[in-house]
Amino acid sequence: MSGLDKMRETFRRDQVWNFLMPRYTYEDVLDTSKGPILYLEDVTVSFDGFRALDDLTLYINDGELRCIIGANGAGKTTMMDVITGKTRPDHGSVFYGQRIDLLRLSEPEIAALGIGRKFQKPTVFEQHDVLVNLELSMRMDKRVWTTLSARLSGEQRDRIDEVLEIIGLKNEAYKRAGLLSHGQKQWLEIGMLLMQDPRLLLVDEPVAGMTGHETERTAELLTSLAGQHSVVVVEHDMEFVRSIARTVTVLHQGSVLAQGDMDTVQNDPRVREVYLGD
């Protein structure tokens, strides 16, 4: 980068200087006054010439609960990877609110801005107790020195108990996470997401491996979160999608095929052709 570019970069009007960015309070910087909290525009990701995302354009409104469906390999997980900073797109732009360019930030920075993610394959810290898993996820200053001297306050402890209650793992609080069942791990990961107290939740196939009853509870939980939070859910289970969705987006070969409420989408002939398979 030339000196001039650097200077321009430093004095960009649309951006807050990095050192002015508060470390873990993002509310002031996040500007959702125009409606959407997330703007994906013309995002393309290719692997060895294969386009996993192909000029994808998608907006998520603040406080919305959005379901994303699509066949295997449609690019749903890749889309989440792009939002959370794991994969860098070939081109396109990803903005969080109107001001924050996510493509310039690293994963921890993005997480610190209040974007939480649940992975498709449940990933928890298997060597740690359930309690510690939640403790580590808690929203707080996560710099090295503060972490070294961090102690749980009573308030934080209460919050953990609360979440343990929600995810139904109260009795397993001191169990090693590696010993949990698949469904329990899913719940634990949802719990970790809640502990982060994120503004935007990205949830990749949350009900895989859950019983019917658990699925219902998950649906309840996610709907209750919407409003305060914005939630993006990727799911295959059509029952589940129908039970929670207000707006559904269908991804196909890396771009949006159709969008609307469940009925509209289900009746769209193109969707029927490629996804629902009749």
Binding site: S106, P108, T147
Partner: protein, 363 residues
Amino acid sequence: MSYLQQYFQSDRAGNSMLGALLAIAILVPILNLAVPESSVFHVSTYTVTLIGKYLTYALLALAVDLIWGYCGILSLGHGAFFALGGYVMGMYLMRQIGDRGVYGNPELPDFMVFLNWQELPWYWYGFDMFWFAALMVILVPGLLAFVFGWLAFRSRVTGVYLSIITQALTYALMLAFFRNEMGFGGNNGLTDFKDILGYSLQSDYTRAGLFAASALILVLAYLLCRNIVNSKLGRVVVAVRDSEDRTRFLGYRVEYYKLWLFVLSAVLAGIAGALYVPQVGIINPGEFSPLNSIELVIWVAIGGRGTLYGAIAGAILVNLSKTWFTGVLPEGWIFALGAMFVVVTLYLPRGLAGLITRKQAQT
């Protein structure tokens, strides 16, 4: 008071070890100095030095365990930090020789006179002062670890890649230190030390003092490490070991955590090296050899990585058996060492400590 009690109860094996360390820190010097040689309880100076050496190895093992056992970073180059600490101490000891060297030059160490150097290289300045050398014992390994770790962790070099480039690091340093032009005595390294802080290194009292210092510093380092691994930072570090990506998505800057721990570990290794050199009386480029670094990994593996006392026990055990083997059956040692690598990784992934805890769980 109850807080303290709880604190100590959490690591019983470690506490027994601390107790034992404190006990020998006091007892061994007394048995060496105050008990007459004819007595069965007398501990010879040779033994004092030998155990003292093991204690510095134990400190080194602790350093490796901290990053490997807890953070999953397998460094095959920790011997380099140990050796650097050793060289820094060696430079101080060299300067203490003054004009008592073979050539009687008050400024220049013998090997420089031998190479026809006219003046002291700039990087030797200040090493005649103990406080400066002590500072460098921390700064030199720390700085190298910082630069190396910053580059490596920032670009997310992990796993075997990291292991091998740490090995390459120590290999490169070894080659460099073998060169006479480096100004560290080339092949022969630094040796023929006379005294430390004004006390003769030949005296039994100095040796006992060095021994006690090694034991005490080991105890302090143990407490420090235990504090760290029991803190929230310790839990984050284990989380990094388990799933680095996940930790990142929770908002932790993994590379800083790794860097912090790596630097700390390197500094501990450097201190161990600094304690080692006055006791054995020599430091040479052989200490940088990749074999040394990988050997010390097996101490930790045998003791049990991920437990602090395991690392210490492993270092002492393996070195005891090395001393014994090389006395009785020198050829056998390499076979035994090789077999240890294989057996421990195949059958004892948690080391002896793991074996004991498993036994405890069964009963």
